[in-house]
């Protein structure tokens, strides 16, 4: 999926970013980028997805949050932010209302913290759960007393 031309121009002129699939954006500009894309007609939120990357020699322990938005019918843009574990990324709920549940789910499962989220509670797992199951270091068969 190629990035449309107007988005490439927008990225280069306003943000000084290279286009790509996905676009990598810094944490302090992600809300601005989301707003700019929404103004450019990308009003459809496809998904918010996070993935966990354990610490390597070059990088610290971190997660990536990828947002994918769409301008109907076909244009699609994905942009991602890198969030070191223990730090947070600003939420996109003010821009896309749908980020509410999506970011909650990713917080619950992957553990990415979205700063300023109105209701950052667990959504899939019980409230008293410990750990975030989709992190790479989380054992799949973690016991949870008393039901398993």
């Amino acid at each position: 999926m190629t990035v449309p031309d107007d988005v490439t121009r927008l990225l280069a002129e306003r943000f000084g970013l290279e286009s790509g699939d996905p676009i990598t954006v810094s944490r302090d500009r992600v809300v601005e980028l989301g707003g700019a894309l929404k103004e450019a007609g990308f009003t459809y939120l496809v998904y918010v997805a996070c993935a966990h990357y354990p610490a390597t020699d070059a990088e610290p322990d971190r997660t990536v949050a990828e947002y994918r938005v769409r301008r109907l019918p076909v244009d699609e843009v994905a942009f991602r932010v890198w969030v070191p574990t223990g730090e947070s990324t600003p939420t996109l709920v003010p821009v896309f209302a749908g980020c509410d549940w999506q970011e909650r789910e990713q917080f619950d499962l992957v553990g990415t913290i979205f700063a300023g989220h109105p209701d950052l509670r667990r959504i899939m797992l019980p409230e008293d759960w410990e750990g975030h199951p989709l992190r790479r270091d989380y054992d799949i068969a973690t016991r949870h007393h008393p039901w398993r």
Binding site: A141, H144, W147
Partner: protein, 228 residues
Amino acid sequence: MAVDESGQAFTHPLYNVMAQLPGVSLGLTTADQLLTWGASNSLFVFPMATSCCGIEFMAAACGRFDLDQMGTIARGTPRQCDVMVIAGTITVKMAPRVKKLWDQMPEPKWAIAMGSCAISGDFYRDIYSVVPGVDTFMPVDVYVPGCPPNPDQLFAGMRRLQEKIRMRRNGEWTEPELRPETFGFKSPNLPRIGDPRREASLDEAQLDAVINLDPGGGLRRPDPKGSL
């Protein structure tokens, strides 16, 4: 491993007197058989349908199969049901609710674990959030294996349950249900209900979780010293 139940035999004084009167025992036996016939032929089902097996349960209730043929209808409230059909995966979040609904059903009650998720967790059994089989927290009478079992397999399970009810009521010894173990089932090794290795603390913790299900929801632990 027959259990010695002689110490728990039912000895009501009036019963003892009545049992000696001529003809009464015959009448009581007949009445007993009648009641057994009633209990085994009118099994109202509480569909604890969580996932795929719930769809097959619905299919079993519908035209081609029709559970109503054997007098089985599904009710939405556990109070009016005799059989709980656990059809689908039970997760850690759902398990206290299942246990609570099971406790809300009036005796005599039975449970059917329909589908491999309810029996052992199937391939989700290693997953952090899935209970590896409902028999880790509640008794199960009949296992209906399959993923999902066809509706006719559910019918076979219901027939098995009817047979079991009749045999139990008539005082015949029924073999304990064989739990269909999947191959190489190693972990998690959670003791089942009735397993002598099961710790009392596990029961206590499960009871606690059920009672403190929804704080502020009007549920409270009964006061052991208080009156009813």
